[in-house]
Amino acid sequence: MSDTVLDIEGLSVHFPTRRKLFVAVNKANLAVEPGEIHGLVGESGAGKSTIGAAVMGLLERPGHIAEGTVSFKGEHISGRDADGMRALRGAKISMIFQDPLTSLNPLLTVEQQLVETIQFHLKLSDADSLTRAVALLDRVGIPDPSERIKQYPHQFSGGMRQRVVIALALCSEPDVIIADEPTTALDVSIQAQILELIKELARERQTGVILITHDMGVIADTTDKVTVMYQGKVVESGTTAQVLGAPTHEYTKSLIAAVPRPTLKVHRFPQLSYGGRQIAFHIDDLARNWERPEPSKSGTLLKVEGLTKTFLARNAIIPSRRKYFTAADKVSFDIREGEVFGIVGESGSGKSTVARMIATLYQTNGGKIFFDDEEITQLKTAKDLESYRRQIQMIFQDPFSSLNPRMRVDEIIAEPVKHHKLLEGDAIQHRVDELLERVGLGSDAGRKYPHEFSGGQRQRISIARALATQPRFLICDEPTSALDVSIQAQILNILKDLQEHLGLTMLFISHDLPVVRQMCDRVGVMRQGQMVEVADTETLFAAPKEAYTRELLSLMPKLEGLSTEGLEDEIV
């Protein structure tokens, strides 16, 4: 036993279910040393969080450790009973969860939560505990800690709340911290600060950290060592530079090749398929039957002028006492026929609001939208909007909520066709089968319900629905942010194909700069409801004009050490 603090050997976690034994973790090995940040990366369902839960003794029934051991400072802890684990949990091993909103008690002040934890673990007096709590808040970078400690969690912003969670995890001076997707719910700028803080704390206190994440950028920038998991198995493990720079396992290679790079633009993501997940997307057949309308005379398909949207923040009977929140503030831009226009911004910047106004889902409070030189904002009745609605379609963010769970897939895809009376009788079914075939699902997929498909497959159903009316303009609102990186690569490839072969014009909304760089011809940057800067993608990334754009770009994960294997032929 060297100075390893946490040693996981041959760990298997089983979830016996009614039909079969589900092996969530299969003979995994992992060792963490003091002061080391060990990244645990994999796609959803790979078993990374299960390892965290197994170490903490927080496996949910019927899950249990079937074999293998977890040792803490040389002592087996995997066999301990509930009381034994409780003595360890929080005291020697702490956990930081993904969502800072739910991991703090909303009814207690930060002081109550911190002081109680400190007293419980370190048995200090009230005054000493308070001093210590304030010092901890100060350490995790909360300004004016002696005042803010008296506040409730809802008075803190998301990033500040995650800092409080970290302070809470540090209360007992743990030897190991397990951070389960600690920055996934946060904006990029805050993510960078939180990761920096975790890094500093690990060095300073010689705490071992297991950082569970699906984000290669986080791994590359933060961790010392990395373990890659796939379907419950550890496929590769080593120092971060070595694993990311020269991966040896096929799965790691495919994973790394699918990561969008901030610095190089690829033509298509390579389909280094692993586990037979390659999909066939028959764009040529689709393009043959595609009816292309006359291109817009001015060359500009969509033009937005001074678009404004306000939401009622506080209602009151007297109009002057009502408070409004401006989600979009005089936004102007135009999209040329056949181009992909990106809008980037952090959450709350108003990018989705703009998309929804264009999609006629929100009424505008000011400004004009022109589509093919016709002013859409003047059309009031559903009948007038019919033709516009047929020409625009939208792909939504969450593949689990964008399809009606009680409708069959063929009904879902046929709905727009039926509504616009584009086809009749058998021709509808024929169109549906064709679309399903083209997006690589096979025509028998139509007889199933959405829950029978995975996230990536559902997103392809969503794309099929969007293509059913043969639109000219496609709005993609964060189409891949809920997907794993390899699925994201598939979907992005499909969207690129559509744009290229069908001449579709796209509005692409994303918070992810590297993705925007891969997808868009021109980009608009939004902040707090305003359009800050609009430029060609290459210009924007190479020479940003505005300070805010520069700041956003500087926060992008650099991913410089990442292997470019498999990408060579695709680099533009």
């Binding site: 009614r18 999609a359 006629t360 964008s402 399809l403």
Partner: protein, 313 residues
């Protein structure tokens, strides 16, 4: 996924028997027992003419000499034996219970269906349309909740009695009862459906339908309604038990089912007059039946609520 598609297509029955829902059912003794009890009671009342040894509504088969016969004991005059005894008129209590349960169950089902249709419609509209429409519907619901359901039902019953001509009272009584109980019960459905609608209407599939240009009516019916029905099923089951009890209460108070069509409540009312004179069976057996019916329906509803709630599994 792939292993599911490769297997031969199962029949609907086989699929249902293999579902997690049915598995959950089999593993819950309470659910199985209460389901069997409900089915037994419902079927025996449905087939009452075949099962009942006597027809309590045929005056020709009644013999006043058989009045007040104790259960399982031969009558002093005629020597006839009745399983659960007879009432003052010489009616067989067992047969009367079977026929009375028909009325109770019919009123219960019909009242719940009425409340359900009303509540779902109002809840959907309130949740989806919002604004002042929602305010009016939900405030009406709040006001109604401040009155006990039985009071509302009695009020409606009283109004109906005043409006309907007296010669139609007996034949209209059952329908008035259904409307009265239904109107006092729609609030629960409306509240739950409104809540579920508020959740569903922000989901992206509803936005996708709006983007296509679908109208409000179609979105409510085709997209939202099917997705808010599972909590409705749970409430409907529990409401059924409540409606049966409400009917029994009204009938017990003498404002419900008429003596020509006695329900369980009517039988209990008749029986309570003889409780202290020693003829305990006239009130006991209808009461026990009512208890068994309401309890088993309620337990089934409880199980259904847990089974349909994925968070409790």
């Amino acid at each position: 996924m792939s292993d599911q598609t490769s297997t031969a297509p199962q029949s609907r029955l086989a699929k249902a028997l293999d579902s997690d829902f049915f598995y959950n059912f089999r593993r819950s003794p309470v659910a199985v027992v209460s389901f069997v009890a409900v089915m037994l009671l419902v079927l025996s009342s449905a087939f009452a003419p075949l099962i009942a040894p006597y027809d309590p509504f045929d005056p020709g088969s009644l013999d006043l000499m058989n009045g007040f016969t104790a259960p399982m004991a031969p009558n002093d005059f005629t020597g006839d034996v009745f399983w659960l005894g007879t009432d003052d008129q010489g009616r067989d209590v067992f047969s009367t219970i079977l026929y009375g349960m028909r009325v109770s169950l019919f009123v219960g089902f019909a009242a719940v269906s009425f409340a359900m249709v009303l509540g779902i419609t109002l809840g959907l509209v309130a949740g989806y349309v919002g604004g002042w429409v929602e305010t009016i519907i939900m405030r009406a619901a709040d006001v109604q909740l401040t009155f006990p359901a039985i009071l509302v039902a009695m009020l409606i019953f009283g109004i109906a009695k005043g409006v309907i001509p007296i010669q139609h009272h007996d034949q209209m009584a059952i329908w008035v009862l259904i409307v009265a109980i239904g109107l006092s019960d729609w609030v629960q459905f409306a509240r739950v459906v409104r809540g579920a609608t508020l959740v569903e209407k922000d989901k992206e599939y509803v936005q996708a339908a709006r983007m296509i240009g679908r109208g409000r009516g179609i979105i409510m019916l085709r997209h939202i309604l099917p997705n808010v029905l599972s909590p409705v099923l749970v409430i409907a089951t529990i409401s059924l038990a409540l409606a049966i009890i409400a009917e029994a209460t009204l009938s017990f108070l003498g404002v419900g089912a008429p003596p020509t069509q006695p329900s369980l409540g009517t039988l209990i009312r008749i029986g309570q007059g003889y409780l202290f004179s020693g003829e305990w069976w006239i009130i006991l057996f209808p009461s026990v039946t009512l208890l068994a019916l309401a309890l088993s329906v309620n337990l089934l509803g409880d199980w259904l609520r847990d089974a349909l709630n994925p968070r409790l599994q």
